[in-house]
């Protein structure tokens, strides 16, 4: 990703469109339609939507960053601002890039040049409301009109838009008003056709991404679950994890997964523990508030050594916080959640692709080591959509610590919690003969019977902790990008990784190395040390106030950070934030 050309050329090749309007105006569906068209014309796309926690009214926007190169994140600066309402202009006028175009209906928005802070922009007017009124077309077609205008401007042919519209809105009974709206806009704006093709669309590569999928981090997480042999999923709706529940409801029959929406998150995790105890690979997903309710269950899974995967998609808190925005504030919480201490595995996928792979790995690790595994996502990764080139998984499912009836028959005195060299004991499941045992939330002996003697307690604590050294062999490899000899090192975890990758790509620099951690516990300390090598400056980038990973690395690896890029306003870390940070550090 560091092979790209000059800075200037890259600016031409990567553009960000922002479509904004009131909630309910079809901002999201319009964004998806446009994204699919761009992908079909050979562009990589990263779509991120921002919306308040309500269904109608309020301000919704979708940011679409597209490039002929892989896109790792969206951007703060906007090249095309499509305003369905005046609020869109007000909210985003400070984010306009040099040379941006602003598309407005002059009846709705009248941007003044004074508003633009000396940034040279062009304002393009299209009389959408008047055209719709004149031809008696429902105002719901507004989003499609603006998109049609933009498509015409950059040279996307009308029939390609119509074709895509039919595909995307195949559930609409009467698609004709949509098609009429497209036709009208193309005719009315005929003289604008291809006007901006050179600036926004000239590098179209045609059909090269035609086999790509277009899906979100949450959907890829769900796919990883299916590939990992998931058989039980329970959840209570909570943004930004709710679409994982939706995903499994959609696919439950096809993949024979028992999916249960529960009365609360406490029920969700306890049900999943029950299902797992019975032998079904089980998972739950929630956000920080729901995880707070699940914490007692986390400890129950740990002491009964019942496998469980918990997905926590972070959002700003505490309490309700900002439900539909993004944050990375829960790392230290999940590392220490529950009374007392026990090993758990904590993952944080650094990309959409890793969300899929790590979920499959997580399910296998949970089952084989009989430990709780937590996967940290956030709103930014969960609900952003990318074009995705499908490759079949190369990860094998294994099940190394579960007994069969045949094996149980040959065991004379079965001990469910037998003390072993790696801390893991073989597990039987209900229904199997000779495997009857008690799984207990009380500290128990090797058979599972409650036992409070000092010796037993010591043995059991040590048994549980023994697993950690062995789990280290099964965690995914650490991600290292950029030149091995770079003097400047960035360390990230989870979704903030994308913005650093985007920065490296834009500056085409050989002088930045990025270490992106996907596993936070057990911490791959040796791998981090190896990856660090010799460096001059080291920075961390996190979506929280205190630098939660940085604190861990300072403590565990004695790293002294040159600076910390910390963002805690509910918005993702954009590449522009990284560039600004580097400028402040006198790096560029």
């Amino acid at each position: 990703m560091l092979k790209n050309n000059t800075k200037k050329e890259l600016n031409i090749l990567t553009k960000t469109i922002l479509i904004g309007g009131a909630a309910g105006e079809g901002i999201k569906s319009g964004g998806h339609l446009l994204s699919r068209l761009l992908i079909k014309h050979g562009y990589n796309v990263f779509l991120y939507d921002e919306y308040p926690s309500l269904i109608k009214g309020g301000h919704n926007s979708v940011r679409i960053t597209y490039s002929i190169y892989p896109v790792y994140s969206t951007t703060k600066l906007i090249d095309v601002l499509i305003c369905l309402d005046d609020k869109t202009f007000e909210e985003h006028k400070h984010e306009l890039n040099e040379g941006a175009i602003i598309i407005v209906d002059p009846k709705i928005v009248k941007p003044s040049i004074d508003d633009l802070n000396n940034i040279s922009c062009e304002i393009l007017e299209v009389e959408v409301s008047q055209i719709l009124r004149l031809h008696k077309i429902h105002k719901l077609m507004k989003n499609l009109c603006f998109i049609s205008f933009f498509c015409n401007l950059i040279g996307i042919e009308q029939n390609r838009l119509i074709e895509e519209c039919k595909l995307v809105f195949d559930n609409i009974q009467n698609i004709d008003p949509n098609l009429t709206a497209i036709d009208l806009i193309y005719r009315y704006t005929n003289d604008c056709a291809n006007l901006y093709k050179l600036r926004f669309f000239s590098n179209s590569q045609g059909q090269s991404l035609i086999n790509n999928l277009f899906l979100s981090g949450n959907e890829l997480t769900g796919i990883g679950g299916i590939e990992g042999g998931l058989k039980f999923y329970a959840g209570y709706p909570m943004t930004p994890s709710s679409t994982i529940l939706d995903f499994f409801i959609k696919w439950q029959r096809e993949y024979q997964i028992v999916v249960k929406q529960t009365e609360d998150e406490i029920a969700a995790i306890n049900m999943a523990i029950g299902a797992s105890f019975a032998g079904a690979r089980s998972m739950v997903a929630t956000s920080g508030g729901g995880f707070s309710l699940m914490v007692e269950g986390l400890g129950l899974a740990a002491i009964t050594e019942t496998p469980i995967v918990i997905i926590l998609s972070q959002r700003p808190g505490p309490a309700t916080g900002m439900p539909t925005w993004t944050a990375q504030g829960d790392l230290q919480f999940v590392l220490h959640a529950s009374q007392d201490e026990f090993p758990r595995v904590v993952f944080a996928p650094t990309s959409h692709d890793e969300a899929r792979k790590i979920t499959q790995i997580a399910i296998n690790i949970a089952d084989n080591y009989q430990v709780p595994v937590i996967i940290l996502l956030d709103k930014y990764l969960s609900e952003s959509f990318v074009n995705y080139e499908w490759k079949d998984t190369t990860i094998h499912n294994t099940r190394t610590t579960i007994l069969t009836e045949d094996k149980l028959e040959r065991i004379s005195e079965y001990k469910r919690y037998e003390l072993t060299s790696n801390g893991v004991s073989m597990r039987s499941i209900p229904g199997q003969k000779n495997g009857i045992h008690l799984a207990s939330g009380d500290e128990s002996d090797e058979y599972g019977y409650p036992n409070e003697t000092a010796t037993n307690r010591k043995n059991k604590v040590e048994k549980r902790w023994k697993k950690v050294e062995f789990i280290k062999n099964d965690i995914p490899e650490i991600n290292v990008y950029g030149s091995p000899n770079a003097e400047t090192v960035f360390i990230t975890w989870g979704s903030t990784t994308g913005s650093i990758l985007e920065t490296i790509r834009r500056f085409n620099t050989q002088n930045i190395k990025l270490i992106a951690l996907n596993t936070l516990f057990p911490l791959p300390s040796d791998d981090i040390k190896d990856a660090l090598g010799r460096y001059e400056r080291i920075f961390c980038v996190e979506n929280n106030f205190t630098g939660q990973l940085a604190q861990i690395l300072e403590y565990e690896l004695d790293i002294e950070f040159t600076g910390k890029l910390l963002k805690y306003d509910g918005r993702p870390v954009f590449p522009e934030d990284v560039i600004e940070f580097l400028k402040k550090q006198n790096f560029i």
């Binding site: 042999g229 039980f232 009365e263 029950g274 269950g297």
Partner: protein
């Protein structure tokens, strides 16, 4: 009828019983073991999920697959087990503390789902294991450790409550009446759907009000089922009725979901993802 301790049967672990002599938990557990033996259910097909309370000392006495969960959370664990393996016979043991206090939400929702689980409420009208605090079943005016001037709150009446949320089987019995207890438990276990058995039991150590004598004076067995008047008067204290209050045949959630047994000891294969690919393809 004397209590058969089920010693020398396969279902009893022969571990030491750790309840107070005369505790109501003893007949409940031993009659449950007897019911399971009488019904000839293979022991490996039975799972008992225990809440936390005095009753859960039964976990180490009964040789079936058992899960001893969190206080108030036995029901979700049991539902997870049943939903992934409907072939198992799943029983929940809970007290009135965990069941009607902390965990009451789960009890209401399981009734809506009608999952085929038998729920046995050890109803001793207070918190025994924490040495005698008031529970959601403590009568108004009764003095306990936390209500030294008499309980100011009304108790929950589980029979009326569960009927209102669609519970498909509701019965009440008494630990001091082992024969009625045994027959009720067998009947409840045989019921297809969620069955709730309220077992009144004296706590001989901490409950000086609801004693064996107190119960014996008031208990009356009713034969007639599905009589709304009996449900309506089930909270009366001068006459405490025992019997089946409601029995209804309706589809269980695990049947309605139609997925069946997914729990297994096999290594999961990577499924064919072609449908997913086609669905998300641009």
């Amino acid at each position: 009828m004397s209590i058969n301790l089920n010693k020398n049967t396969n279902i009893h672990t022969n571990k030491k019983c750790r309840w107070c002599p005369g505790c109501g938990n003893v007949p409940i557990l031993y009659m449950l073991q007897r019911a399971l033996l009488d019904l000839n259910i293979p022991l490996e097909k039975i799972v008992i999920v225990y809440d936390v309370g005095c009753h859960s000392k039964g976990a180490e006495l009964t040789k079936v697959y058992s899960f001893y969960g969190l206080h108030g959370r036995a029901l979700p664990v049991a539902q997870g087990i049943k939903l992934v393996n409907p072939e198992l016979k799943v029983i929940v043991m809970s007290g009135d503390g965990g069941g009607l206090g902390l965990g009451i939400g789960h009890l209401i929702h399981v009734c809506r789902r009608n999952i085929d689980i038998t729920y046995i409420l050890h109803d001793n009208q207070l918190y025994g294991l924490t040495t005698g605090q008031a529970s959601a079943r403590t009568e108004k005016g009764v003095k306990t450790k936390t209500t030294p001037e008499g309980n100011l709150e009304d108790p929950i009446h589980p029979i009326k409550l569960l009927h209102s949320v669609g519970c498909s089987y509701i019965a009440r019995t008494f630990s001091g009446h082992p024969h009625h207890l045994l027959e009720t438990l067998k009947d409840a276990i045989n019921h297809k759907g969620f069955s709730f058995v309220d077992v009144l039991q004296p706590c001989i150590t901490f409950n000086k009000h609801n004693t064996y004598g107190w119960f014996n004076e008031r208990i009356k067995i009713i034969k007639e089922e599905n009589n709304l008047h009996n449900i309506y008067t089930s909270n009366k204290l001068d006459e405490i009725t025992l019997g089946v209050f409601w029995r209804e045949s309706k589809i269980c959630l695990e049947e309605a979901m139609g997925i069946g047994k997914v729990a297994s000891d096999e290594i999961p294969q990577i499924p064919d993802t072609n449908k997913i690919i086609q669905h998300y393809k641009i």
